[in-house]
Symmetry: C2
Subunit: 296 residues, 2 copies
Amino acid sequence: MDINKELAYKASDVDGMIYKYLPAEKGYQKTVLQAMNYSILAGGKRIRPILMTETFKLFGGASEILAPFVAAIEMIHTYSLVHDDLPAMDDDELRRGKPTTHAKFGEAMGILAGDGLLNYAFETALSALDIEPGNPRVAKALQVLANKSGVYGMIGGQVVDVESEKQYGISKNRLDFIYELKTGALIEASMMIGAILGGASSEEVDKIEQVAKKIGLAFQIQDDVLDVIGDKETLGKNVGSDEKNQKPTYVIFEGLEKSKQEVKTLTEEAITILQGLPYENPFLTELLRWMVLRDK
Amino acid sequence: MDINKELAYKASDVDGMIYKYLPAEKGYQKTVLQAMNYSILAGGKRIRPILMTETFKLFGGASEILAPFVAAIEMIHTYSLVHDDLPAMDDDELRRGKPTTHAKFGEAMGILAGDGLLNYAFETALSALDIEPGNPRVAKALQVLANKSGVYGMIGGQVVDVESEKQYGISKNRLDFIYELKTGALIEASMMIGAILGGASSEEVDKIEQVAKKIGLAFQIQDDVLDVIGDKETLGKNVGSDEKNQKPTYVIFEGLEKSKQEVKTLTEEAITILQGLPYENPFLTELLRWMVLRDK
């Protein structure tokens, strides 16, 4: 199967769900609604929504209940990028070749559009309570979404990452914490919510969390590996930028070969857990491999 | 009754509920947890939590279900102040005589602590789904919280306020929009959630929303009035600062006397609706009067 083609197809599929939930750009507060939609429409591979829908399918899920969560997870991912790009954070003016939200709409609107997206993600996800009132799986999915996005999830990782900049001296435990939370937490949320709403037992949800944790960590280590060996053109950023920015990385702790090996080991462990489940979704397996063994 | 004494007593009561939900300051992400708690503990009169608990009591509410919402509304109010104070927004270094969150913890941490509080508010409120699983009133309360805090509520008002700065030329409709959303929306959320969880019918919730809308607007107009006539020392800020900042105000549109009259009219209309309900909470009536007829 041509994974890139398949992914593009699935991305347009989830875009259909996401677009349905975007706010109409009208009213006195139009600017923030435009800024929110601009941030979402700026693109991205929609990895998290696709992980969610594919895990949902793995467990035989087929209802309408997933759609608000698909939109919500992408809103949360997007708000985190909008705030990350702010001058007080990474100070990035470009993302995927387009002006970042604050570069286009001003810094105040960048802050407010991020706040707006985070809040709107919960508004959107909470609409699932109307689709299946009283369904305890919806309650659980909402709680996982909130927990994995917050200070014990993504925001927590982001905080420690910000504090560790230009600090070669941080411990490997601390680096693991950043990696597991900053990127890992939303990958976990995506797959766990797919599993919960797809009908998984709580043991199965735990296994999916393990799969996602390993893949999230492998994904981040691969990032470090690519920063050292990647082709500048393919990667779209300067190779060796981590070293130049004095950013602590896995490669610095473990060396290049051991880091590469770790990516492979984590991926195989994740896929072994996934394939131990009495269900099958070959595309999901392919997707996990692709996420970590990519060359850009 | 001595309303200030009574209010201080009630504030310490709701503080008990709020503190129970504050995160423990430990783990690698400790800094953001400290910044969040610092922002909440910096004080404030806890008007929104008290409005919530008093409206809950009005409808005979007496269960544990309210506490997570009491904490959540104060977290949302607090995050909005933390982000408002940022350099790209109002650029305030002091609030209630203490350094603002970003002044104390740095700008990046100010952004992240605000994000953390907003997200944690939903984590906290969503814990109510475990207290009374399947209760449709909890679902409704969660949706009201999200809606009134977001781009169709508080954030929407904040956006238009930011865009209207230094613009004497805005329309009165636009000013009404700002006033109704920026401050009004969270007052509505507080009272509506109290009503919903207290057992109000949907007609009664609508009436409470009207009461809160009128009080919220009166509260804002009174702010404009006090900016012109208030005693500098009582008010704690420079009188006439709105005019100096070229801030559009109600007094500019309607004049001082008509504005004062409007505050009284809105307050009496609100109290008439409230007293038309077949329930009584004299303290709530006093509180509403105090909110708008204050001299600081």
